[in-house]
Amino acid sequence: MHHLSLKAIANKLTKKEISAVELIQYFLDRINTHDKTLNSFVTVCEEQALQQAHAVDQLRNKKKLPYYAGIPIAQKDIFCTQGIKTSCGSKMLDNFIPPYNATVIEKFNQAGFITIGKTNMDEFAMGSSNESSFYGAVKNPWNITKVPGGSSGGSSAAIAARLAPVATGTDTGGSIRQPAALCNLTGLKPTYGRVSRYGMIAFASSLDQGGPMAKTAEDAAIMLNIMAGHDAKDSTCANNAVPDYTANLENPIKGLKIGLPKEYFSAQLDSNVAKQIEQVIQTYKNAGAEFIEISLPSSELAISAYYIIAPAEASSNLSRYDGVRYGYRCEDPKDLTDMYERSRSEGFGSEVKRRIIVGTYALSAGYYDAYYIKAQKIRRVIRDEFLTALNKVDVILSPTTPNTAFNIGEKVNVPVSMYLSDIYTIAVNLAGLPAISAPAGFINGLPLGFQLIGKHFAESTLLNAVHQYQKLTDWHTQSPEQYA
């Protein structure tokens, strides 16, 4: 049951081979058995989920329900859920129970999905290892001494251990793709503006984008069909038509032009990673794809520009946590300034404070032009280089990460080393492009991912290319033995 695709589960529910209550209870039992070790959930919605499942079973006898009604989904704890704690991995929001749903949550509810729990994450999505969460580190189901990636590490660990069939993630610099890669999953960061950010707690608003995390491209396509679309409540949400992302999955990819950026395949690339990616390239060649070398000359500036722009936006966004309207307030403040300063210092963890300080510094008088404006100029150069390359090719291929999962604790006190683990994913967010990570095989028993980057709003091309790859390979069907 826990290895099945969304379609296969929906089929069983429709044929009444299993009830929604049985299905939810099945996954709740798996969570109870395994999540003490993994720590992938901040909140398990046992009571609400079973109630909703019961309602689905009752209604199914009376009327036709949406096709996926009754299927459990794990929601990243960054999406506001009405009546369910939404912590964003922070002590600051440990007591926050939103009075409304994020648009993404609303859309999954309308499609009949049942929120089985809220997944752990790096605090305010700032991290690549899920170690900065107030609720503790999440373990990688492939090896519990390793990180599951971040910031959507709870979502990736939960799917990898088959505690939920699918989950949502958000991606500001790689936070869907990197954990998907480190946990042997398929994760898609849509084009900036493709999915509404309403009710998705803000980190860096010009980079943040919600997206699907799943076992396969087919499941991710089904999820994106639900998630994508214009939302009047988010003025940055794109207003162009949403195609059926499942419609083109079966198209042959003969003639697909794939670009290989020479900067991403330099001598510094780990030889084991290179070997694995070479196999991916070979599989695509066998399917008739054409490879073309391309150049993204400014890619080495992407991390620098990102670590100015993202903290600058974060310092502004996180100024809303003031201990007045919601969230954490310190004990016995002696005056207003003391209340602001202590509430924020006690409520935020060290990585979040570090980024607020970097952002405030970059935006302060005397440094604004030298850091923030310059980074935004480089952002345009990076985006335009991608657009030029994507005039010649349909998609761009790269590893998702420089290595497989690292050890828990290995990079926690070396922020810059942590930042460098996002070297292949960050530029995509600066350019607002869609990109997908999919399983590329294993190195010493740990999964590795490859990334395909597409043109703005060309999610269908990415999903089609990965679906075809997954018909020729079986990496994505493998799961960790302990959770078989």
Binding site: G193, S206, T236, I303, R325, V358, G359, Q376
Partner: protein, 96 residues
């Protein structure tokens, strides 16, 4: 190479309304110095004539009509407040 001292960190932390003690300002100064040296690489780029990019899709904003769309949720919202009274947020005295 940029070096940020503890005094600057304390000043910036106050601007961001974060309280940090001497020990924290020392470790934070070291960490921020490291981050600033990472981002320093932007100075190798000649982008003088390039226009800054704030939104990767340029002008794709779709503002909604400026009309009331939400009902009054004062009570529900005040329930989230750490402290409130008579329909208002309570904070420490602002004016002495």
């Amino acid at each position: 190479m940029t070096t940020v001292n503890q005094e600057t960190i304390k000043k910036v932390a106050h601007l961001a309304r974060l309280k940090i003690n001497d020990e924290e300002s020392k470790t934070t100064a070291a960490a921020i110095t490291e981050v600033l040296n990472l981002v320093e690489k932007i100075n190798t780029a000649n982008v003088e004539d390039v226009h800054p990019l704030a939104n990767p899709l340029d002008n794709n904003l779709t503002p909604r009509a400026d009309a009331v769309s939400e009902s009054n949720q004062r009570e529900a919202l005040l329930l989230l407040a750490p402290s409130s009274e008579a329909g208002l947020y309570l904070v420490p005295q602002v004016i002495e």
